[in-house]
């Protein structure tokens, strides 16, 4: 769906093969009954295919296959969506990108290397400014021992036990900076959350004087506000790509069903009402893929329009993706709302991606503000 070069094709094909055999829908249903479905060994084998290297330049130990790492990663995220695969793909890549851009040499040698070889995963502890999960923000207090972080992060994705969190905290002057915090640092407490995705798990994090060295800061003091926006662009594009994967899977399954299923002596697909529905859905799928690919190109190249396209991709795919899958459920009838059918696996993944890190409505709002600014009238 997204690939344009032979190298990207290869990356996508190896990823798809691995995901297909490793995480069948039946396996995902089984994993959903476990407290901790994350498997470090299986993650590492995936990482060997290049999953976490693409947003990191070659001189920092990574490498893209086409020159635009985000465009490459799109193919992987798309396949993650198509298989509703477990593992913190988006968070790990986003934190890797942050470390690659703004991290110190030491951070490159240590944590980033761990993300690149699959020994650790990472999560970005983003909290929207408003809404149900706004959190109360973290405070950072510097001392001779380093920086003590206190506060709560409403939600991060789980992964390897000793992975990393990228968290923004404000100092006494109100300057927000990012810090890389080991999940198992003293003073970090996590408690499990529940949710609709079957294999992606989340936890809330409470920090009470969690002390990290001053060298744990990522980027200049006060850079977190700006950096958050770029991380949000990356996250939005990758979420959109996963959503497109879930849409494709649900759509293809449903198209086949309209051939196989009979009603009143006719295949469902012979009814014009059903044909038109499928035509609408196919168009939405193509549109979602198109806007996501364009966003990846712009964000990957750092073009001036990058933020606008990233916002549009998440706003659009986030809105139509879950709705498209709901329509697929509808066209399946009763079997579509059963646990033993596969459709809900994709509906869950699409919906989580649509709602986390800002809802489609929040990105629509962002798009309007950006457009206003571009037109010279905005804030």
């Amino acid at each position: 769906m997204f690939t344009q070069t032979a190298d990207q094709d290869l990356l996508e094909a190896t990823t798809a093969d691995y995901l297909r055999v490793t995480w069948t829908p039946a396996r995902i249903r089984e994993l959903s009954r476990l407290d901790s479905p994350f498997d470090p060994a299986l993650w590492r084998r995936g990482v060997d295919l290049g999953w976490t290297a693409l947003l990191v330049p070659a001189d920092s130990g990574g490498g893209s296959v086409s020159g635009n790492g985000l465009a490459d990663l799109l193919a992987v995220a798309y396949q993650f969506g198509r298989h509703a695969a477990p593992g913190p793909l988006i968070g790990t890549n986003v934190v890797a990108a942050a470390l690659a851009r703004w991290g110190t040499k030491e951070q490159h040698g240590g944590p980033l290397a761990e993300l690149l070889d699959g020994a650790a995963t990472a999560a970005w502890g983003y909290a929207p400014r408003t809404g149900p999960r706004s959190g109360n923000g973290l405070r950072a207090v510097s001392s001779d021992d380093g920086v003590a972080l206190t506060g709560t992060v409403p939600l991060v994705e789980t992964g390897t036990a000793s992975g990393y969190l990228l968290l923004a905290a404000a100092d006494a002057q109100g300057l927000r900076s990012h810090y890389l915090v080991p999940r198992d640092a003293p003073g970090v407490r996590t408690s499990p959350l529940r949710g609709i995705d079957l294999t992606r798990r989340y936890q809330s994090v409470t920090l009470q004087d969690a002390t990290v060295s001053a060298a744990a800061r990522v980027g200049e003091p006060g850079s977190a506000d700006d950096h958050d926006e770029l991380l949000l662009d990356l996250t939005a594009v990758l979420q959109a790509a996963e959503i497109v994967g879930t849409m494709e899977r649900a759509f293809t399954t449903t198209l086949q069903w309209t051939h196989d299923r009979y009603s009143f002596g006719r295949p469902l697909g012979s009814y014009q009402e059903i044909k038109h529905r499928m035509a609408d859905l196919r168009t939405q799928l193509e549109a979602s893929a198109a806007v996501t690919a364009k966003a990846a190109r712009h964000v990957g190249e750092g073009s001036p329009d990058a933020r606008l396209w990233a916002s549009t991709a998440k706003a659009y795919a986030g809105q139509v993706g879950p709705e498209l899958i709901q329509d697929c459920v509808q066209l399946h009838g009763g079997i579509g709302v059963t646990f033993e059918h596969d459709l809900h696996i994709y509906l869950r993944r699409a919906t989580v991606n649509a709602q986390l890190f800002g809802t489609p409505a929040a990105f629509t709002d962002r798009l309007v503000s950006l457009t206003e600014t571009a037109l010279g009238g905005g804030k």
Binding site: P128, T130, G131, D260, Y262, F264, G265, E340, Q355, T359
Partner: protein, 423 residues
């Protein structure tokens, strides 16, 4: 006959004395419960429903529109409507209204023999018989007349073979209405017969099916040589389609307008979708004053109020003959699509909290899981697509779809999911 106001006054007093208040924080309706009720919990609630139904019966409020000879009150739809207004806020046997009273009791009233009515209806009204619907089959539910479950005559009995599916409450129901094919050599509508079948009948095997929200109240049944006496046949042999059209009509009235349903449809309250609950959630999130939030809340509540008005108007017009009974498909369509939209609105309002929640956030869990199962509102009881077909072809008289099933049923093309050979 007692006048409606007087009846309402009597009901008000009786309800205050005899029914417990509804617990709005606890959504016991099995399909929507977020906490994956165990089988024991479901059975306990079913027992409560039976017991509450018995209280209604003893108080003289069960079967308000059912003739007295079958245990009812012999009053009018206006009395039932008044009672339904009074019962708001009380716990009542919401979960057994569908399917026991509609469509099953309604169908028995119209098509049952005197013996059948005397045998079953008082027991239904006393909460002693819970009825379910053996209608949909693995090969298809929309095309109910395409049933391949077969009943073969054997002296004074019938022998049933086949499979039924999506039976709500099938595993704890007592009796069922069952549609079966009795003739494969005629056009499909002319070879069907309806039977009443005890769910404990030998040869009737029941499997619970898990829904995406963890509920296991849906069932699939496998019928292997299930023997049904001819006295349990409902309506004439091969005349089942006439029964079916009324069966489907009564089923569609779950959105409102049935004289046989106590309370407001099949749920005691709207759970997380109740407007008060949505406003409270938005306030807690700090988003209540956002214009977007207000537009969403307004849309949700507009849908609720318009549905109420639509049901009242359509019911009135059907009763007065201004609209044919096919008009009930409009309330079904509006009810289904507006419920689905409501689930989307709640999900948007809850934002991140509607997809990831802490273990003590029961309402958020209901919103998240409710979104995953939301299409059930547009599928169960006949799909919204079928409602659109009824509205366009029956109500509006638009040309019918080309039919591929007018030949002998044996020769009608069927998909791979449909078993049954008609051997």
């Amino acid at each position: 006959m007692i006048d409606v106001d007087e009846f309402a006054t009597r009901a008000r007093g009786w309800l205050a004395e005899n029914l417990p208040p509804a617990d709005p924080t606890r959504d016991t309706f099995f399909l929507h419960a977020a906490t994956h009720p165990t089988d024991e919990e479901v059975l306990a609630r079913a027992a409560t429903c039976r017991e509450l139904q018995r209280r209604l019966f003893d108080g003289g409020f069960a079967g308000i529109c059912v003739p007295p000879e079958y245990g009812g009150q012999g009053l009018t739809p206006a009395h039932q409507a008044a009672f339904n207004r009074e019962i708001r806020g009380y716990d009542y046997p919401a979960e057994i209204q569908a399917s026991t009273f509609i469509p099953c009791m309604a169908v028995l009233l119209e098509f049952g023999t005197e013996e059948q009515k005397l045998r079953h209806i008082p027991r239904m009204l006393r909460g002693e018989e819970i009825w379910v619907q053996l209608l949909s089959e693995p090969g298809g539910g929309s095309d109910a007349a395409g049933a391949v479950t077969t009943a073969t005559r054997d002296g004074e009995n019938w022998v049933l073979n086949g499979s039924k599916v999506w039976t709500t409450s099938g595993w704890w129901g007592d009796w069922a209405l069952c549609l079966a094919r009795t003739n494969w050599d005629v056009e499909k509508h002319r070879g069907l017969t309806v039977f009443s079948v005890p769910m404990s009948a030998p040869g009737l095997e029941i499997r619970q099916v898990e829904l995406v929200n963890g509920s296991k109240d849906f069932c699939q049944e496998f019928l292997t040589d299930v023997v049904v006496p001819d006295t349990d046949r409902i309506g004439d042999v091969d005349a089942g389609w006439g029964v079916m059209t009324r069966w489907l009509y009564h089923e569609r009235t779950i959105s409102g307008g049935s004289p046989y349903v106590t309370g407001g449809g099949n749920r005691p309250n709207a759970g997380p979708y109740d407007i008060g609950s949505l406003i409270e959630a938005a306030r807690a999130f700090g988003t209540l004053d956002d214009s977007r939030t207000r537009a969403l809340l307004g849309e949700a509540q507009t849908n609720v109020l318009v549905l109420r008005a639509l049901v009242e108007a359509v019911t009135r017009k059907m009763a007065g003959g201004a609209l044919p009974y096919h008009a009930a498909a409009m309330t079904r369509l509006f009810g289904g699509t507006s419920n689905a939209r409501r689930a989307a609105i709640a999900t948007e309002l809850y934002g991140e909290a509607g997809v990831v929640w802490s273990p003590d956030e029961e309402t958020a869990a209901q919103v998240g899981l409710g979104y995953l199962t939301r299409q059930a509102a547009c599928i169960g009881g006949g799909t919204t697509e079928m409602a659109r077909n009824v509205i366009s072809e029956r109500l509006l008289g638009m040309p019918r779809e080309q039919r591929a099933d007018t030949v002998a049923f044996r020769d009608v093309p069927r998909g791979p999911q449909a078993g049954g050979s008609g051997a």
